[in-house]
Point group: D2
Chain length 501, copies 4
Amino acid sequence: MSAELEDIHEECGIFGVWGHPDAARLTYFGLHALQHRGQEGAGIVSNDNGNLIGHRGKGLLTQVFSDEREIQRLKGSHSIGHVRYATAGSGGSDNIQPFIFRFHDGDMALCHNGNLTNCPSLRRKLEDEGAIFHSNSDTEVLMHLIRRSSKPTFMDKLKEALNTVHGGFAYLIMTEHAMIGALDPNGFRPLSLGKMTNGAYVLASETCALDTVGAELVRDIRPGEIVVVDDSGYHIDHYTDQTQLAICSMEFIYFARPDSNIYGVNVHSARKRMGARLAQESPVDADMVIAVPNSSLSAASGYSEEAGLPNEMGLIKNQYVARTFIQPTQELREQGVRMKLSAVRGVVKGKRVVVIDDSIVRGTTSKRIVQMLKEAGAAEVHMRISSPPLKYPCFYGIDISTTKELIAAEKSVEEIRDYIGADSLAFLSLDGLVESIGLGADAPYGGLCVAYFNGDYPTALDDYEADFLKSLTPDDRVRLPEFALYKSKYEGNEYQALPQA
Amino acid sequence: MSAELEDIHEECGIFGVWGHPDAARLTYFGLHALQHRGQEGAGIVSNDNGNLIGHRGKGLLTQVFSDEREIQRLKGSHSIGHVRYATAGSGGSDNIQPFIFRFHDGDMALCHNGNLTNCPSLRRKLEDEGAIFHSNSDTEVLMHLIRRSSKPTFMDKLKEALNTVHGGFAYLIMTEHAMIGALDPNGFRPLSLGKMTNGAYVLASETCALDTVGAELVRDIRPGEIVVVDDSGYHIDHYTDQTQLAICSMEFIYFARPDSNIYGVNVHSARKRMGARLAQESPVDADMVIAVPNSSLSAASGYSEEAGLPNEMGLIKNQYVARTFIQPTQELREQGVRMKLSAVRGVVKGKRVVVIDDSIVRGTTSKRIVQMLKEAGAAEVHMRISSPPLKYPCFYGIDISTTKELIAAEKSVEEIRDYIGADSLAFLSLDGLVESIGLGADAPYGGLCVAYFNGDYPTALDDYEADFLKSLTPDDRVRLPEFALYKSKYEGNEYQALPQA
Amino acid sequence: MSAELEDIHEECGIFGVWGHPDAARLTYFGLHALQHRGQEGAGIVSNDNGNLIGHRGKGLLTQVFSDEREIQRLKGSHSIGHVRYATAGSGGSDNIQPFIFRFHDGDMALCHNGNLTNCPSLRRKLEDEGAIFHSNSDTEVLMHLIRRSSKPTFMDKLKEALNTVHGGFAYLIMTEHAMIGALDPNGFRPLSLGKMTNGAYVLASETCALDTVGAELVRDIRPGEIVVVDDSGYHIDHYTDQTQLAICSMEFIYFARPDSNIYGVNVHSARKRMGARLAQESPVDADMVIAVPNSSLSAASGYSEEAGLPNEMGLIKNQYVARTFIQPTQELREQGVRMKLSAVRGVVKGKRVVVIDDSIVRGTTSKRIVQMLKEAGAAEVHMRISSPPLKYPCFYGIDISTTKELIAAEKSVEEIRDYIGADSLAFLSLDGLVESIGLGADAPYGGLCVAYFNGDYPTALDDYEADFLKSLTPDDRVRLPEFALYKSKYEGNEYQALPQA
Amino acid sequence: MSAELEDIHEECGIFGVWGHPDAARLTYFGLHALQHRGQEGAGIVSNDNGNLIGHRGKGLLTQVFSDEREIQRLKGSHSIGHVRYATAGSGGSDNIQPFIFRFHDGDMALCHNGNLTNCPSLRRKLEDEGAIFHSNSDTEVLMHLIRRSSKPTFMDKLKEALNTVHGGFAYLIMTEHAMIGALDPNGFRPLSLGKMTNGAYVLASETCALDTVGAELVRDIRPGEIVVVDDSGYHIDHYTDQTQLAICSMEFIYFARPDSNIYGVNVHSARKRMGARLAQESPVDADMVIAVPNSSLSAASGYSEEAGLPNEMGLIKNQYVARTFIQPTQELREQGVRMKLSAVRGVVKGKRVVVIDDSIVRGTTSKRIVQMLKEAGAAEVHMRISSPPLKYPCFYGIDISTTKELIAAEKSVEEIRDYIGADSLAFLSLDGLVESIGLGADAPYGGLCVAYFNGDYPTALDDYEADFLKSLTPDDRVRLPEFALYKSKYEGNEYQALPQA
């Protein structure tokens, strides 16, 4: 919830289907299950016998597709779609995906979840060669690389392009004859293949979208893989062997829907284990456990059961909060008007409460939560965070682009506690996190990317490296080269095998 | 959740403020906290020095007020507003409240939560005298009665009118010089008075709206009371002494927001007690407890703690479900496309689960939930309902208008279990409900209306009585006259005192 | 055009059809042909086997019905509709017609074109008897009168009500079993009955709407008549014999569409004759004639042909001018930004021009036109107005409610000429107007109301009389009682026969 | 009108301003005056200190900019805008201009009026080099050529690009530091430079837009010229000397607004001369002249004056016709429902009428007009067309892309007369057209392109040549090479000087 309220956003969710007579509508429902991954823009492109038809717009999926006719216009048996958190800036609606490209030899559409570490230099190089970009997004770069490749076949061109882009990416491509998914060598973002009872194949960012459309999971797409779905079925290829799983741990902590499974691990259950572990690591003598809704509900449940404390609804979130255009004035805010989150006086009054949250970003939300609970009469407020302190930016698709906005990058735990006004504060340990998730891959951190917690980035940082190093303290700089993943990347170690899902 | 999915609806939420420079905006936020009480229409009327200005529309509050200018146009320091569940029928947007009435001696606005038992006969009588109605709603009747009264003062006219209408009602009236609230003699609907730090008074259907706008609770409005708020403060009057508290028990079971307090009882805590009592009454040997989100979360938590079973997220509700215009085709539904509720395979597979739901209406939702859980691999599904079986219609504002749609009116518990396919099924006892809520008023059922469970209506049924009696079985008919409240009503027993909140 | 630019508005246009399977759609097209009579609101009510279904909204018809589904929802074989110029004030969208009334003995819908002279006193009286009004409009009054009548049959009640309301009115009523039209005793507003090839009957404010839907004119409805259309055909009745034709001369001058015929007189041809007569009465030595588009095109053509001068396009109106939300700032206006009307430099430069306009209201538009033409290089600008000077308010449906806003009420022709900066100015004579229109009814002014020109009102002014008399100069007051129509009204003279159309 | 009703469309209108504090709003009003040049899409890009901000959308300008905030968001002192007729096809809203391009060395925006003859081959060549196109439009090609040019300066790159594209074009470019306009070597499309009183410069497709924003004409941009406007004022450059004026004669006949001047010739006056010449060439014994509104009003006026016949309003166009979503069903059409154009029975009944129209495309509209007039009682209908028969496609920006849709390409005048059912039919001669317009340039046809009438194209047809030649009859093919302009193009004749405007 802190992550949510403090605007840490996943960039996107992607969904595609090949071989269903009502493909665009199905994509709509698939995207609907992925709406939590991006609420600022959405789009669907359908493939009607090779002719690509698209509709995109700003806002929630239900706003972009506010008319049955919009879906009916998207004829065809194959379709891909995208929901997006729109980054600030001048790009605006030009950045909404999927993008359609019109070529004399056939149309293509493309959408993308992730962030490239070498995008600025690739764009500059491509521009210097005459390429023209219409959006600010990283996504277009791949299409330019494909079109400029001198390789003989489309698959060869695509592989060359995928080896040229670095960082975190899950691409979904629609061509006249196939739907193609591709994942980066570290598998930062989840991507799963499913099959419907009518034989149609679907690709989705999370398994909850497979469940929503009634598809069975076939397999998770793994690092470095390309999956090609066409009328003959699906086919797995790969563009590199240099892979090492490092899936974003924030997917487990906050982004993914609790009913999704990632490499076989259920997200709700993982969060519950984080909460239980947190109760073991940082117990507190209190009257009740309170979740910060909605993302910390599972962790709070785990903490409560492990600690033997009742789990109460001491904070409530307005479920109709989305999309309000009317905002409180500053004066109303000072008078106590709050729309999103309320403390429940009847529950917390006079009680010693343990508040479970998934993360602390800037600390402003935590400070507000503590204040609300105290105003509502809580006797003591103990804050417990089901992940380690966030200290470093992410370069693979989460919009924490600078350490400056992270309170834990600047302050100690005790200083944060003092700032937010809690009676006590504790974070889950990094080991606790890794073991609670329990992915168990034969890779550092069990196959998780935990770089925002410890700075151990699984890849070279390319265009972002210079600025990042400048932002570090001397202590950090000494520590960094020792990190296992970082080292392996630079020293050319062989990557380890993936866990069997 | 069953109630929610199966379309049992509260009719309305009301909110008003007197004496705040940004009254309409404040009303917007107050209504926002009451949005769960009605999602089909909303309106706000402001009082700009006696001139009433209104804006109303279909849909969620955020849709009706989609533009800052709509709020700015509603100038003035006083304002009332309404959110509504639109009943079916031809009335359409003409039924959206508050209604504004233009008289040569000043404007008035009116909105209403509840249902009158003698509305059809009053309308007919008024029409026969030449009255013209613009809407299908019960609300207009009161204004006609006021205007036709021969009493000397407005307050006298109002009191006469309030004594003429029967049933359940919480009215909110805006005149040039005052904001007035009035509650029926049984207090079927909650209505609370609060005070802001700047001295403004607010009236709201639930205390959660007071909290949202930063107002302190002054007191709950009680049966038979009229509260008049004007520039001199607030003043409590009453139009009858023949009162007896019988607040709708469904407010505690399903309608009200968990953070609201009603006569001092916190709704979440009451639900938790219902869950705990249910665990005592109907224990089961199982691996986990699962809530049907969102309305059964509290009860599931209570059951889990009492039973010592883990509370798991085995069902998930899509939080972006509202307002979709795109619907699955029948074919997609058969292929398993579901938008609202999903079972979490990773959680329930192979487990014996206790599912906690707040109620069973038609049984179709329960049947679907059991089926989903079994398809997701649950070994056993035990359904536990945190209220007694719904058997009789409500005539005071909930849209259960006929016993025919209630599965428990026709089938025994065992027959329902068989129909929904659960391994076991149990309901909370009526005593359990009353004691869990613990309102403790010196009135039958501790001050609750439980008529949908046992047919013991706290008032005469007036225009609805003949049809209701016809719908009863001979057994029912024998039993009915013995009921305490029903009897007291017809035999003119004195009503009891209210509990001190 | 001056009338148009200076906001003289007709109140409404009405259209109805009985007996067509696609009645609401047909009504849409009929109203579309009447859009010039009101652009601020529109509505359609259909009669689906006695069940009335409505849709109303602000703006142009194309905005109110922006979706095919809105029309499809309006099922039924009978339908009435309304386009409206929304008067200022607090009523807002509550004033948009047709109004639907729900009674226990059946629904009714009602719409109205005109203005009642005794509406304020009727409303007050009805309110004192307990009637409640929802709108500011005159329309509701009729329904209250009908419902309160003690007469035995609906037709008797209606006739009594029609005899109670005074002033200008064309009503259209939809009941379960019939569509009814009714016209005031002076026939201030036009209303025509037509028949479609499939046998359906239509009623419309102007014959252009009959043409648009392919209906043949059956007959114009005459003063004091009621036309009842039902499944057996149409039937003409009357509620009074005290009738005397006094149709609004502004219908011929400015309001009506040029292709409409009123009592057999084509509007375009009448305007052309006004222009020709104006050329005879007030010739000028000039190089060309210029119309102020669009309403003066016909008159300019007549002037040009009679004067033997070329008819040039020296002023042009932007045909996309409607519904712009973006307005020039004051600064842009001063820099010369103009959206609606432009002078054509290439045409008028160095020329002596005769500008034909239909009327002068406040004079500000005429002043601006003269200025634009002079800035565009016109050597001389001679203004010729195809109607007499507007000096008195209208109480029958045109929104000139006070003499103060009329420049000719205060200034002589020479003073007006000086104010607008023209080289010469002349108005058509009253005789010239009456003879040009040539209605030829056996009634004062050939059957026209010319009260805005000479104060000779065809009816008592009722509630407006006191204020009107106060606004008059002593000269006016002396002159008034001599007027034929005014006199006839007060002295109870028998009304004359209508001309045979 | 026939052109209008039968969907001959100009592709676009462009407008730009440099150096005005309210630049985007001014551009809105400029585009509003050009709305007749394209009604399917509109956009504005503003330059806020080098940062380009855009807003584009489908529909009329008033629909795209339906909110004051949209204009306010477009900050900056410089702005360009575009209105567009959207060609059919899959491009949809991606084709709406101006396009914004984001480069590491600064943003650029581009819009365009016209059509390139070598666009397909340029696109193919660019694609083969790796270029990616986002739209179907010709416009993007120029930007790709600029970015791929190896010339040293931006102006050199631009000139190279302008020499590479062939056909008809008026480009408007916004860079960080300048607004640039460029016209093709034949000046097919008009483009004018104006100056406001505050010193700001504007560029517009037609002078009517200069008038609307209060700007004085500085000069028309001439074939082969580039105009650069920046903070130092304006500067005229040129990219080629091989120019020869061949401005689209349809601008004079139908497209341009009558108040616009093109190379000093007023469009209304030119049309009036066409009508007068037509009266001389093809007189007829009749009772009246009737224009097909709106585009033939001027020509009808000229015919009427020359012939000494009255000019009557025998056909009327609904001025609210735009943007209706509700359409008549086929059944209603057969019953005579017509929305756009009506015959005025009261005017034409029993009369011998001369109908003046600007062109005949497919003939279906003319046929319908004749039929409507005859049904309305016209005794004789004589059709006179104020331009020669349309026989050949246009490749420079009018969407007549094939001869097949042109009735005059297949039928003789007598055959057309028979098809449309008129009593007589005549077209203006080509000489009559050229002399009536009277542009008087020292170039073939006085500086007009008349290729749609005689096949004499002023440029090579490039990518369209093969298909065009195939579509010709043997007769045509023999005749074509003799044409002066065509020949001069191919034989490298020196182009002639422009007329002095």
